[in-house]
């Protein structure tokens, strides 16, 4: 992807985040270009999920700045209701609303937050559901669905808001291994369509396939930013090498 020609969608400058005394993010700098897929890798507890949550205002930050389309989205005066419509997020625990059917879950944002026309939103929801192969489950309740299905619905729910960028926070980590594929395929499909995404994952094969750039984070710092092939074949840092060895052992 020729990101040089594209505008910077999201820019993180010198981001610091602390929980009490513990530093979780220690000076993160990153630019995400339109249409780019950035995969964030790193050991558990390195701060990668926190990084993603900062981008959506779910965490407050202590220092640094995040800009979205050149506008700062840090501090107290951010209209998060507005901004979050543009920044879709899918979490690890398939957090559909259990008291609503699939279609109600998807329609909530478009009709109640964006106040869009119901017919038009329904049409888009139907198309998206069809695309992830779950149209016939539109009147089911979340408890009637498998984990993989729930996660695909959660993705559709976020997509139906027409976001500019999607954040995925270990969306397959809680899934049965057999269901990982169906969810990753949906995300891969989005990447092919040119959706801008920041993905936190532990699926190395997937990371390699989907990423334009791989970001390796350790102890709250970015250790390495590389092209995926380069990262997986010859990582620049020793820390990344160690990290990859662990996964090779698994395979």
């Amino acid at each position: 992807m020729n990101k040089e020609n594209n505008q910077v969608l999201l820019e993180i400058q010198n981001l610091h985040k602390q929980y009490g005394e513990t530093t979780v993010l220690d000076g993160i700098n990153l630019s995400v270009h339109k249409g780019e897929v950035v995969v964030v890798l790193g050991p558990s507890g390195c701060g990668k999920s926190t990084l993603l949550r900062c981008l959506n205002g779910l965490e407050t930050i202590q220092e640094g700045d995040i800009t979205f389309y050149g506008k700062s989205i840090t501090g107290k005066n951010v209209n998060w209701q507005e901004t979050r419509q543009k920044i879709g997020m899918v979490f690890q625990d398939y957090d559909l609303f259990p008291h609503m059917t699939v279609i109600e879950n998807i329609m909530l944002g478009p009709t109640r937050v964006q106040k869009r026309d119901k017919q038009e939103a329904l049409q888009q929801a139907t198309q998206l559901l069809d695309r992830v192969g779950l149209l016939e489950r539109k009147d089911a309740y979340p408890r009637q669905l498998s984990g993989g299905q729930k996660q695909r619905i959660a993705i559709v729910r976020a997509l139906c808001m027409n976001p500019e960028i999607m954040l995925f926070d270990e969306v397959t980590a809680a899934l049965d291994p057999e269901m990982v594929r169906e969810v990753l395929d949906v995300i891969l499909g989005l990447a092919k369509q040119g959706m801008t995404m920041v993905i936190v994952t532990h699926e190395m094969g997937f990371a390699r396939a989907v990423a334009d750039r791989v970001l390796f984070v350790d102890a709250g710092k970015i250790c390495e930013i590389s092209e995926p092939d380069e990262f997986f074949t010859s990582p620049k840092t020793e820390r990344a090498q160690q990290f990859l060895n662990i996964f090779q052992y698994h395979q």
């Binding site: 959506n56 205002g57 779910l58 998060w80 209701q81 507005e82 901004t83 979050r84 419509q85 879709g88 997020m89 979490f91 625990d93 957090d95 559909l96 609303f97 259990p98 008291h99 909530l108 944002g109 109640r112 937050v113 964006q114 959660a154 729910r157 976020a158 808001m161």
Partner: protein, 225 residues
Amino acid sequence: MQNLGISVLFEGTALQRLFSGLLVTASIAFISIVIAFVLGIGVGLLRTSNSKVIRYSCKLYLEMFRIIPILVWLFIVFFGVTAAFDLDLDGKVVAVIVFSLWGTAEMGDIVRGALESLPRHQIESGKALGLNFWGLYKYVLIPQAVRRMLPGAINLATRMVKTTSLVVMIGVIDVVKVGQQIIERSILKAPAAPLWIYGLIFILYFLICYPLSRLSKKLEMKWEQ
């Protein structure tokens, strides 16, 4: 064996009086429960507020009703507050005020418990969709909390119905008081009268409370489906 005592129920206007007493009991309970449930949702929201001052004042309010017996509250308002502010309040009005305040505090606690028991990521995924504070509560949190607070709320309602029997102490003639009056009048000629009168009162309370627990079961089943 001519008189088993059951006849006291059918003498004169005894039944009629018992039912009018029941009406007093039921109306105090019903009005207080409705007020308590509506205001209790508000107090429950305040108790999950970010402000410590608001949280602690609401907690203090609840503890005041938990620590001080309801009977004492009835006395405080009926004898104390009315005298201090030179008010002339009917016992029934005082009863509704005290029971509403108590019910609101308890209901607030039930609502708080239900809200806090909801998984945190429900809030986060609601926020991630761009819902504002009210939208989050209206579409995501309250509908889920209602399901969780139902058993506690019904329990509270039946407790409130039963506790209304205290209103006798501030001069309100409720179903229990009417029963006592009938017993006192007929105790000499029908020594078994208390059994029949209190037996009937038992059934009357049951008739009020049982439908409530049936209703809660029904709703739970319906939401379970």
